[in-house]
């Protein structure tokens, strides 16, 4: 069931005192986005607050484990992608990132090359050097579950089995170019290292340090704008760096089909439709916040007050 329609219906019911209030779908969508962003950001502050409470033994476990619930909501916005390489040791972050949780790197490159043919869920390379091996004569190579990256499209799959010296069966169909070969790299999935975030102030102290300078086993990065620079600078290949980040919630869109008797009819099948991404339990909070915005729009102090009181009460319960 669409949460956004429930929220809109409730907001319309609250503001429709003496038929004063009318809220256009465009305005509702604007306020809905504001409210969602506000609540989304609040999750991180709440998370920090409850971690501190845990550490002073003021938060429980089991059903009282508030941190677990907050983590689940935040993790629902988590994404993992290989970053697009820029020049030298720089990579671009995705445009929808809110917070980079970690970058990681696979230090052990097993092999790389270019596909010579395309088949569904397969990597075919007739020039593989050394040739792939299914373990019949020599050990399995590359190992099962090794990570295969299409370094052109940055799609990823795992080695499921080695068919023969030139073909590997993959967990996903990541090579789809028929006419031309695509570049690939295969990494040892057991050797993953986190690329550590270092502040701009510290990075050159770190790179100049004899004991602590970044290595391929313990790399580091700095962030400027939407670009990360990774050290040591020998890490340069497309597909080397992967990011796990928290993205922004998508802007909610209450879409409608047509006007019937002056009323827009909700249309969930529209291509631009987007529900709220926060959990259902946030519905009262979203309504309260939207009511505050609407109260200002229709110059109705009571609606604004109602929204504010609801929010204050909700916060008091959580403390």
């Amino acid at each position: 069931m669409a949460m956004i329609n429930n929220v809109r219906n409730t907001v319309l019911a609250i503001i429709n005192k003496n038929n004063y209030g009318y809220l256009s779908p465009q305005d509702f969508n604007l306020y809905a986005q504001q409210a969602q962003m506000d609540m989304f950001e609040d999750y991180f502050y709440q998370y920090n607050q409850y971690i501190n409470r845990e550490n002073i033994r003021q938060s429980g476990t089991g059903y009282a484990d508030i941190v677990k619930g907050l983590e689940e909501v935040i993790d629902s916005f988590s994404e993992e992608v290989f970053l697009t390489g820029g020049t030298a040791n720089t990579w671009s972050l995705p445009s929808d990132y809110y917070l980079v949780n970690k970058l990681y790197y696979y230090p052990t490159l097993l092999t790389s090359g270019t596909t010579t043919a395309t088949a569904a869920n397969e990597l075919v390379d007739n020039t593989a050097n050394p040739p792939f091996s299914n373990g019949a004569v020599t050990p399995q190579y590359p190992a099962l579950q090794s990570i295969v990256v299409n370094t052109d499209t940055l799609k990823q799959a795992f080695v499921q089995s080695v068919a023969n010296a030139t073909t590997i069966n993959l967990s996903a169909d990541i090579f789809q170019a028929v006419a031309s070969g695509e570049n690939y790299s295969i990494y040892d999935a057991n050797n993953i290292t986190e690329v550590e975030r270092v502040t701009q102030k510290k990075i050159f102290f770190l790179t100049s340090s004899t004991l602590g300078s970044p290595t391929t086993q313990f790399p580091a990065y700095v962030l400027s704008g939407n670009t990360v620079s990774v050290y040591p600078t020998s890490i340069q290949n497309n597909g080397d760096i992967k990011a796990q980040y928290i993205r922004y919630p998508k802007p909610p869109q209450w879409t409608f089909l047509s006007l019937t008797n002056g009323e827009p009819i909700f249309d969930q099948t529209s291509s631009t439709y987007q529900d709220f991404e926060l959990p259902l339990s946030d519905e009262p909070g979203l309504i309260a916040k939207i009511c505050q915005y609407v109260g200002i729009e229709i110059r109705e102090a009571e609606v604004y007050q109602f929204g504010q009181n609801e929010e204050v009460q909700d916060n008091q319960i959580q403390v």
Binding site: G135, T138, P139, Q140, L144, E196, L211
Partner: protein
């Protein structure tokens, strides 16, 4: 209890290279020390919060240095040729010397 299975130790679970884990019981790697430290001691609910990995690496390496000075006493032997000014370059892991021997006419003397 063995720290890895026999199959992993002797044959690397059938993967290449098969000798990857041979003799791995001899040392604990720096990577292991740093990873385990970050896993067990660093984090929101652990005893150390707000500490960076590079700080852990630094102290781990300093610890290894100190152990080399005082405890490990790994004695190595080098044969070096003195230059025209009777000098030679000490190796990078030099801590202290045990003895110098000089080769003359095919024999070593103290």
């Amino acid at each position: 209890m063995a720290y890895i299975t026999d199959y992993l130790y002797y044959e690397n679970n059938g993967n290449s290279p098969v000798d990857k884990n041979w003799g791995s019981y001899q040392y604990v790697s720096l990577e292991d020390i740093v990873n385990n430290f970050m896993l067990m001691y660093q984090g929101n609910n652990e005893i150390l919060n707000n500490i960076e990995r590079y700080q852990v690496i630094f102290h781990a390496k300093r610890g290894i240095q100190e152990l080399n000075y005082d405890a490990m006493k790994e004695i190595k032997i080098l044969q070096l040729t003195v230059d025209s000014q009777i000098r030679f370059v000490l190796p990078p892991d030099y801590v202290n010397y045990v003895e110098y021997l000089c080769m003359r006419q095919g024999f070593y003397t103290l």
